[in-house]
């Protein structure tokens, strides 16, 4: 399997006032194409910093990071912006959709910052991404007319639209109720089955049971990295959750 992410001894220090905070203290691992990795850790474990580093939003203080074979550490802001645009799809906890904007327009957004797409190509890709997340019938709904689960699926479609090397999800189910969480998890498993590489950062240990690999972070170090031999089927779990009557 092709190597998508390679971290080598990543350290990230923050200077807060007089003190230096070591958020990451030498993190190393590789993630191959097609893996569904959960990164777990309590708050303060450094998982947000790791996510920012993986997402090319931040650069490590020391260590090397290769994304899809490209060294990120020495890149300036603008080149990292372009790299994010081409290689990464973000899914955030709070969806971060544009208000009063249709699903299609929201999904098109990453392609707006890529001048190699024409407006008809953009539209076409956005529609197929929305169909892939099961929102083919809600293309023209505005973000304020959708439920949380639908909004998160639009956000996932937005993360898919640029065919990224890796999808980075940051507590993507954190704002959703159990049932909707599993619906989203089903979607992630489906994408995984289609061969997408997914990194899912969470503090919820349950989610790790549905991924193929689980990296645990504590105090800025990797304390566990296990392959999941028994991946649970989110669809089956979803079916077992009773539908609540209103």
């Amino acid at each position: 399997m092709r190597e998508i992410i390679r971290l080598e001894d990543i350290c990230r220090d923050f200077i807060v006032g007089e003190e230096t905070v070591h958020a990451l203290r030498g993190v190393s691992f590789t993630i191959s194409e097609g893996e569904f990795v959960t990164i777990m850790g309590s708050s303060g474990s450094g998982k947000s910093t790791l996510l920012n580093t993986l997402g090319c939003l931040d650069t490590p203080t020391s260590g090397e990071y290769w994304l899809d074979g490209i060294s990120v550490r020495t890149m300036d802001k603008n080149r990292r912006a372009t790299l994010r645009n081409r290689k990464i799809g973000f899914v955030f906890q709070s969806y971060n959709l544009l208000p009063k904007t249709t699903a299609v327009e929201n999904v098109e957004l990453p392609l707006m910052y890529n001048s190699s797409y024409s407006s008809s190509q953009r539209r076409q890709k956005a529609v197929s991404a929305l169909e892939a997340v099961g929102l083919g019938d809600r293309l023209w709904h505005k973000s304020n007319q959708m439920s949380g689960g639908q909004m998160q699926r639009v956000a996932i479609a937005r993360a898919l639209v640029n065919d990224p090397a890796v999808i980075l999800a940051d507590e993507a189910t954190g704002n959703l109720d159990t049932r909707t969480s599993f619906e989203v998890l089903v979607l992630f498993q489906k994408l995984h089955a289609e061969g997408r590489t997914i990194i899912f950062v969470t503090h919820n240990p349950e989610i790790s049971r549905y991924s193929s690999r689980n990296i645990t972070l504590r105090d800025g170090r990797v304390t566990g990295d296990v392959l999941n031999g028994n991946i649970l089927d989110a669809a089956a779990t979803l079916a077992s959750i009773p539908v609540e009557e209103d």
Partner: protein, 406 residues
Amino acid sequence: MNIGNLFKIAVKALSNNKFRGFLTMLGIIIGVAAVITMLAIGQGSKRSIQAQISEMGSNMIMIHPGGERRGGVRLSPEDMESLKLGDLQDIQTQTSFVTYVSPAVNSAGQAIYGANNTPTTVYGVNRDYLEIRRYRVQDGEVFTEQDIRTAAKVCLVGKSVVDELFPEGQNPIGKVIRFGTIPLRIIGVLESKGYNSMGMDQDDLIIAPYTTVQKRMLAITHLQEIICSAVTEDYTEQAIEEISRILRDNHRLKDTDEDDFSIRSQQELSSMMTSTTDTMTVLLAVVAGISLLVGGIGIMNIMYVSVTERTREIGLRMSIGAKGRDILAQFLIESVLISVTGGLIGVVLGVGAALLVNLLASYPVFIQPWSVILSFAVCTVTGVFFGWYPAKKAAGLDPIEAIRYE
């Protein structure tokens, strides 16, 4: 990212907040409209004054005898006899910037015809006078060179004099009126010019050959005044210089001597009058400009609020690949769109308001193309200027913090 996409994004963002955008625009609309209307009104009054002055002969130059010291006593200009016929002839022949030259000797008195009489003034002049003062003959004709040589007892009369002396509407041509004791035959009636900008009735006059006034009425040989016209108003300065040189020569003045004549031009009058309205125009424009500035500050304020309010959006855009300059451009385009749209509406409103003032208050207005272009340019610059700082702030946000901004 191409500019077309940025444009779409900006339009979209603005249309999400139509009412707020409109309120922001309102500042610019009022500012631009005010600038245009105020300048139109200012320019309108300036133009109307200029037109009135030019009707009097804007290129007119008046030469009077100047006060002179004689044995320590400064004499009144009227008592001076320094302007001679020779001066007139030299100005006629030796200048290149002067078109028409006329002597002027005036005599005030009572004009009488039958039982009617009216106080008026006889202007003793030559034929050029009519050209200089832009008088046109409505009926009859102008006296001839022969009349001047012979000091003929003929005259042209203004409308006001005709009205006073011939109240029954008889044809005045050929009638003999008396001015003081001198009988004058009316050979022409002048076209009415009405009142000038200083409220003087320009039709209350009698024009006669200057020789007639000189010899038969005043018994003098000198000239009270010489009136000339420059080739055009713009050559007034040069014409004055030429005339001044000739007169100093003729009067044998030494370099150290003061002029024994004074030259005034209509240009001075016109510049004096227009400078008043210019001051008004500047004042109006300044007030209007301040409202444009206030409008600009309104844009800046709203853009600031907008940047703060949309911090998460900015964070998202950055995390999906927008560069700092894309964000900068987006917000700049937004503020320029507000100001340009506001500017366009302001231009339409300003022009409309100016025309309305003209229509309803029949106040003279003149919309100068440059005032429209200027105010429009200023409001575009305002958009960039006041949009720059908020846009810069947006572009400088850290995506990590922005995306989680609450």
